[in-house]
Amino acid sequence: MRAIQDTAILVDSPVPPRDAIARLDAAEPLLVVDDLHVTFTTPRGIVRAVDGISYRLHRGEIMAIVGESGCGKSAAALAIMRLLARPAGKTPKGRILFQGQDLLKLPESKMREIRGRDIAMIFQEPMSSLNPVLSVGLQIMEPLRTHLGMDKETAHARALELLQLVGITDAERRLDQYPHQLSGGMRQRLMIAMGLACNPKLIIADEPTTALDVTIQAQILELMRDLSRRLDIALVIITHNLGIVARYADHVGVMYAGQMVEQATAEELFARPRHPYTIGLLKSVPRLDRPRGGRLETIEGLPPDLLRPPAGCRFAARCTLRLPLCDTAPNLVPIDGAEHLARCHRAGEIAAGLTPPSRTSPAPRTIVAPGQADVLLRVDDLHTTFVSRPGIFAEPMVVRAVSGVSFSVRRGETLGLVGESGCGKTTVGRTILRLTPATSGNVQFGDTDVLGAEGASLTAIRRQMQVIFQDPVSSLNPRMTVGQIIGEPLKVYRLARSRSAAQDRVSELLSRVGLHGYMAERYPHQLSGGQRQRVGIARALAMEPSFIVCDEPVSALDVSIQAQVITLLEELQRELGLAYLFIAHDLAVVRHISHRVAVMYLGHVVEMADRNALYETPLHPYTKALLAAAPVPDPAVERMRGTVVLGGEIPSPSRPPSGCVFHTRCPIATAECRDVVPSLEDYGSGHLAACIKLPESLAKSHESRPA
């Protein structure tokens, strides 16, 4: 009921009269992008960021543009808004027809009227995209007052409606708040509300949920799709996440090195990909909807440098179907009907059944069951509490980042630790490594008591326990060469007899992680993201550890590079017998690499089980919600399954809810859950879960399961 009212209000609000013209030819596409070129002038030369892309979009449709970083997808979006950074971004070439009007030919003053009124844009990072010193109310009322000439009272009333429309509760109070007082999800809702303010016809969303947690991402995307359908708004979503594309998009364009390589409807593209790059992308993501395969397929190599793009097919260097013909540039041509376009000389053959040979070595991954190996690391009732004082006079703030976590890792085993931001998974890793002091609990590594270790015994375990960090840019010292970075631990721990022995060891480590020996002379900024992460891995390996904490090692990497790094980690484990604590938020990646998985929420482990048990029969309501929220790259699957969106926000760890910490968001919680702290119970063969409702809900799910 509420929703219907909201729509009515939106439709009633002042609409510029010139819309009448657009309404007459509703069959015409709202947006036509025709041979768009964007170039940037850099000190090194001219970068052709976007090299001739074309697409069209009708009202109420959702178009997704997918591609990896640097493929030009964001530049193409900013070009529509004419918001490319000047003077480096030259005026784009080509045509962008919006309601029949070429945006590239409009004077700036006319273009300003269109921005925010007819075309709105939502950006990736909701924190930095909102002005920190201006109130929420002012920022949301700005477009209303500028474009629609509303007075203060009308704009205020409309702002309240908009906040309610995007599901922000307590709207009146929110208007007086500032962005830093809102959670990440709420900030993105606010961005959407700002975008909707003047009833736009087109919304461009540039990676709208990349900075958000899985459950919050699902909330935001559901909201955007819902609004698009109800208000007949066309949506362009720019993303690197194929799951999002499959769940939400009608049309998809795949970009590679500044060009569209494949364009089709979502169903077509996922069912019958025709470009080797699309096929490779789809195969290189670990998937929750398929049985876990052996090894991930990888797309070897790196995208070309757009300063000097190759003359022929831009993907040829990485393509397994390359022919001499590929030295000439292919055109984007229809394959299987006019709607499906691909830029590949061999697309026809692929349509006829040719499949690209896989690049993975044929040896299937033998999963050594580490179930019998001895326990290497045992963590028992670990607590880590941070106490901070915001000012010298302020009350101390207590954040219980980890409260009572227990698990063990065997030799050669990977334990996955998943959870959303703020759940304490990173703190667990840091506490085990003694990078953060523990408050209480016990950590046993081999025969050593880690938390009590000092001096020589601490040095000894430091050698055995290593870490790979999330961000390979900020975790490598920019003033040191790759060789110095990898060689430093050799020096500190006197692992090499001489300088030349150290150099030999560095080049051995480099080749071990798939880098060339000459890269030892380079500095981190001269490497790509995937190469930097390989350096981080080589540095960890230099100590010959038996256990590595991998803290989100692939989340900063592009899909195709991510697969390369995961495969490397798997190989190293098999060859060196390493044990990993693999910390991540991506459920599919964790499933792929882990033997066992623990799910964390607000400092507690809520469920822990063998990989297959956890993903096939999740017990805890939070695990179920996480799995439901993660979109899978298959529109057929996505459209069949109902989306269960977990409502609410993740509570602050400084004020965790009483009883079961999950009760504020739990779909099956009752009054009892507010008081009783659930303990981890065994539900058969080591499948642990912490939920007092479980015996009931377990019985229920068994009843409802189809025969």
């Binding site: 921005r115 930095s128 010193v133 201006l134 474009h147």
Partner: protein
């Protein structure tokens, strides 16, 4: 907020106490003796007895710790003592000069900001164009040129071009406001130019940075007028670092203008400072240092309050 303010004001006491201790004992370490300087200054022959008597009169014969006790208890009730040189209460000596120095400081700050904010903004908006480069030359000149030398240039220029010299005789703001302004404007301009150079360069760099922020792109994506984007969204964020610098500069202007005061024949705090140091007038030096420290502490507090007003992320509790 009120509670925070009270706490901050109370914190001034230990800060000044620390300054007092350090100043008092450091001054006693410095070689030289005010009594000898005073009585034998002109090469006159004085008896040891006369010197002893003068020392006793000034209280210099007591143990150091007692001298400190006497002085600091006096300070606690705002009795800063009498000048060892002239015998007049130091507060009387300082008061008139402080009024003058404050007038110059405020006027220079005003002039400085009036030049700096537009200059820094224009420089940032046209970053790396010829406009930017010209402004940067102007501000670089302001940084490199000593204020007193610019003061001399101003006087010479006024004399040559207009055949006029600004009044050099002390008046009072209340009796002759225009005359006072005519006198103080030129030194304030000389000092304010340097002030504006520092703040304008800070403005430029912080605004250039802010203009690359995501929220500026958002503001443009909303279709706001460019002037709204600049004034409302960018300037308010860019002003913060400029305010810190302005606060420090303002505090420096009280007591830091030794030579400029000389050039314009002004009897301000700076000149008093130099005289007191030459004369080894301990009591006067201590009072002046306490005053300077107080000005710095208060300016800092004001800067913090302005910060809290401009940036909602900063909330003092």
């Amino acid at each position: 907020m009120i509670g925070y303010l009270i706490k901050r004001i109370l914190l001034i006491i230990p800060t000044l106490l620390a300054v007092g201790v350090v100043t008092f004992f450091l001054l006693r370490v410095v070689p030289g003796d005010i009594v000898e300087l005073k009585l034998r200054g002109d090469g006159a022959a004085v008896t040891q007895l006369a010197i002893e008597r003068e020392r006793a009169r000034l209280g210099l014969d007591k143990p150091l710790i007692n001298q400190f006790g006497d002085w600091i208890t006096g300070v606690a009730v705002f009795n800063f003592g009498t000048s060892m040189w002239t015998g007049r209460p130091v507060t009387d000596e300082i008061a008139g000069r402080l009024v003058l120095s404050l007038q110059i400081a405020f006027l220079a700050t005003l002039i400085g900001l009036l030049i700096a904010v537009p200059l820094g903004t224009i420089s940032a908006l046209f970053a790396n164009s010829w406009i930017d480069y010209s402004i940067r030359v102007v501000t670089l000149a302001g940084l490199s040129m000593p204020s007193f030398w610019l003061g001399m240039l101003i006087i010479i220029a006024l004399l040559h071009v207009f055949d006029w010299i600004p009044p050099m005789t002390p008046t009072s703001l209340w009796r002759d406001p225009l005359g006072q302004l005519a006198q103080l404007f030129w030194p304030a301009l000389a000092v304010g130019y340097r002030f504006s150079a520092i703040v304008a360069r800070m403005m430029r760099s912080s605004l250039v940075e802010v203009l690359h922020e995501d929220y500026i792109r958002t503001a443009r994506a909303k279709g706001l007028f460019e002037r709204t984007v600049i004034i409302r969204h960018a300037l308010r964020n860019a002003l913060l670092p400029a305010i810190t610098v302005s606060g420090l500069e303002f505090a420096f202007l009280i007591g830091g203008l030794v030579v400029t005061e000389q050039v314009f024949n002004l009897n301000g705090i700076g000149r008093l400072f130099v005289q007191a140091i030459i004369n080894h007038d301990y009591i006067m030096i201590q009072a002046l240092i306490m005053l300077t420290a107080f000005v710095f502490v208060v300016t800092n507090l004001v800067v913090d309050l302005v910060y809290a007003f401009l940036d909602p992320r900063i909330r003092y509790v």
